[in-house]
Every structure is written in structure tokens, then in C-alpha cells.
Symmetry: C2
Subunit: 242 residues, 2 copies
């Protein structure tokens, strides 16, 4: 019974895969998975690790970082609420190609690779679930890529800021329109495919426009309405083309 209870606690099963699982498999799934909370700075897994399982982010923010042999590293993408990490490695039986770095306190649900594989064997609907997920990931990657190419740096930066803000807003119910960047400039640059210098200059421009103020890592939205408006334009334009 406690297992079932825990299964309810793990929202990813319900929201992500639950709808394709019958009751019995749902319980099996619940038994196979378990939840854990990670603090900022911890790594969920490391680049080069053998893939031990699949992780579903329930809340918080996780950055995927890729390092090369020369010690250079870049944050490739952010994962948050509802995203699933490592399924490609499990299904393709590869090792992790990057490090999952916890940026803000995160609740993460884990399923061991072997158990997942077993569940996949037994339950074709689960396969369907992952298939759907892969397709979704494919489209988001594509649109993301398109956005990266089309929109200018400022637009992309605003978009990123918004995502980060939303992420903490949901958690903290913060009406102050103030939050702290969970990553350093270098990583922001990497996420946007730019240099830290350019980020600095963009920030200057934004402050000149009176849209946002930056104090170290603290971000203060002086005029939230205008900010949202500016974001919205970008989103409209993006969806219009899709």
C-alpha cells in the first residue's frame, strides 16, 4: 500500500506515462521507481557514466553539460518539470553523453535501466509512451533550433530569462518579480550559443531600455508588463511560422 502511495507522489507516472499504463502496470512502475531530492551543485549523472536508468524531473532545474578533452565545457540545455533524462542512453544502450548538473533544488524520479527494460518488454503501451515522448522531444529540438537560428541574441536571452523566471515562480509564488539566476554568465552564453561578452552587452542594452535590472546574479523586473509583452511578440512570431 505504501508503494501505491508513493506512486501517487511521483507525478511523472501519472502525467507522463500513466495514461498508457493499466492499473497493474502502474503499480509495477511505481515499485520500480523511486524518488530523490537533489540539492544545487550535485550531479545526477556524469558524462561517460554507464547509464544506470532514466530520470524524470518533477520539479527544479537541471542543466546538461558537455565537456571536451581540453577541459572546456558548455551547458547544452536546461531540463525542468516533466522532462525525462537518459532514456536515449537506456534504449540505445549507450553511456551518458553529458553531465546532469542540478541547478536548483530538484525532485527527481528514477527508474533503473534493467527494470525499465523489463517493463518495456512486458508492456508495449509503455513503448508507445516513450515513442510519443521522443516525437515531442524531436519537435521541441527542431523549433528550438529554428529559434536559435532566426531570432537575435536579445530575443533568445529574454526567452531564457522568462523560462528561468517561470521555473522559480511556480515554486516560490514570488510576486516580487525578482529572482536569482541559477547559472553563471558563461553558461547562459553557452545555452544561447554566444559569448559571455555578448551577454554582458545585451544586459546593458536591456538595462538602458529599463526592462530589467541586474545586480550580480539577481534579476529585477522593473516593468514586468513590458517584459511579458516583449516576450509574447517572440512567441507569437514563432508559432505563426510553425
Amino acid at each position: 500500500m505504501s508503494q501505491v502511495c508513493r506512486s501517487r507522489g511521483c507525478s511523472c507516472k501519472a502525467t507522463e506515462w500513466g495514461h498508457v499504463l493499466d492499473e497493474m502496470d502502474c503499480e509495477l512502475f511505481a515499485r520500480a521507481s523511486h524518488e530523490r531530492v537533489y540539492e544545487p551543485g550535485m550531479n545526477i549523472f556524469m558524462q561517460g557514466d554507464n547509464c544506470s536508468g532514466v530520470y524524470c524531473i518533477q520539479s527544479g532545474l537541471v542543466g546538461l553539460r558537455r565537456s571536451d578533452d581540453n577541459g572546456n565545457s558548455a551547458m547544452l540545455r536546461l531540463s525542468q518539470n516533466g522532462d525525462v533524462l537518459g532514456y536515449r542512453a537506456v534504449i540505445g544502450k549507450r553511456q551518458h553523453r553529458n553531465t546532469a548538473e542540478v541547478l536548483t533544488r530538484s525532485r527527481v524520479c528514477f527508474i533503473e535501466a534493467a527494470r525499465l527494460t523489463m517493463l518495456l518488454q512486458r508492456n508495449p503501451n509503455l513503448k508507445e509512451g516513450f515513442l510519443q515522448r521522443a516525437l515531442v522531444d524531436l519537435t521541441t529540438t527542431e523549433t528550438n533550433c529554428a529559434e536559435q537560428m532566426t531570432r537575435g541574441l536579445q530575443a533568445r536571452f529574454l526567452h531564457l530569462l522568462f523560462r528561468l523566471y517561470q521555473n522559480v515562480e511556480a515554486q516560490q509564488d514570488d510576486r516580487e518579480h525578482v529572482f536569482d539566476l541559477p547559472v553563471q554568465r558563461k553558461d547562459i552564453a553557452a545555452l544561447l550559443g554566444a559569448t559571455p561578452e555578448s551577454i554582458s552587452r545585451i544586459i546593458n542594452r536591456l538595462e538602458e531600455q529599463g526592462l530589467v535590472r541586474f545586480v550580480g546574479r539577481r534579476v529585477i523586473f522593473s516593468n514586468m508588463g513590458r517584459f511579458r509583452a516583449k516576450i509574447q511578440i517572440g512567441i507569437e512570431a514563432a508559432t505563426a511560422e510553425a
Copy 2:
């Protein structure tokens, strides 16, 4: 018996999904699918069409074109030998988001949506096959995207030229190192995320370097060795980072 014969003729079944199908399903698959040859200029399907099924390109070259309301259109991507079109539309039950335009004589294998869905129901391994395919597509999209952002226009153009050349080389066994571009400059530009003007200038530079000569749509590799070498650098650099 003739059905089985046809099944052998359709290489996509063997190469793409065959390994996850048992003999019986393989035959069902063969019966569900049929092959057709398209001539350049024809459209396999049109943007906005309801998705009638999935297409597997056996040979030839197909361009995916997206048009907007203003009549502007851009070629988003090329599909060739072994690529599968429309599976996202089928599985997601959406309509086609772009037009598949046949660029060179192509053999295409078609499976009706309803039959495919039925087969998918019946055979979880087929789901697995599509899952694998989706994962592959995901990685290629990602690397493609990365390449687009990292490499300069010239490198990307050379890469594209090479792809196009390989495609006809396989068919025609052409030792002359000469071939005709199956698309116009405008589309090349779109594929590379650039303007036609830039393409023109790139071509100039390449001719100055004595790498390639262009006469209208005809491409003449004056120094194939050097060309290949130059491509190779790009590929090495790309794989090193992955």
C-alpha cells in the same frame, strides 16, 4: 507468393524494420505496403494534406518544403535513401506540415496510415522500430543543428554539395566528378539558412580556390581529392566534438 516477392523488392522493410519483425509480420508488412516511382517535380504529399500514410525513400532525393501564407517558401531539409517521411504525422495524427517535393527520380515505399496503425497495435516490436528511428532522427537533428550553428557557410555548403554528389554517384556510378544540382540557389540558401546572394559569393570563392567549377546548375569537381580532403576536415571536427 508475388506478395513475398514484392516484400523482397522493398528494401526498407529489410533494412529499416525487418530486424524487429518476425516472418509472419514481415509478410503482413509487405502486403500493407507498396512501392511507387516518382519523377522529379512531383509531390509525394502536400503541406496541409491529411496524412494518408508513411513513406520510406528507397532511392532518389526528396526535398521538404514549407510555405507560409504570404507565398514565401523555403526548403527545410533533404531526405534520401532510407529516410522515412510522415511517421510523425501518422503517430501524432496531424496533417503534413510541409510538402515533399521529388527532386530526382525516386523509388518510394508507402504504407497506409490505418494499416500501419493496425500493425503497430499488433506488433510491439514495430513500435520499438519506430522508437529507435525517432531516437536516431533526434540525434541527427541535434548534430545537424549544432553544425548549422558552428561551421561557417562555406563549410556547410561544401557538406551539402558532397551529400548531393554522393546521392547521384551511387545511382549513376559517375566517374566524371560532374553532376547537376537538383535544386535552385534559392533552395540551397534555405537549406543552409542563408541568402541566395551569399551562396553566389561562396561559389565565387570556391571557384577562385580552384576547388569546384559551376556552370549553371552543373557542378564540376576540378580537384576531387582536395575537395574530399576539405570535407573530411569538417567531418572529423564534427565527430570529435560529439
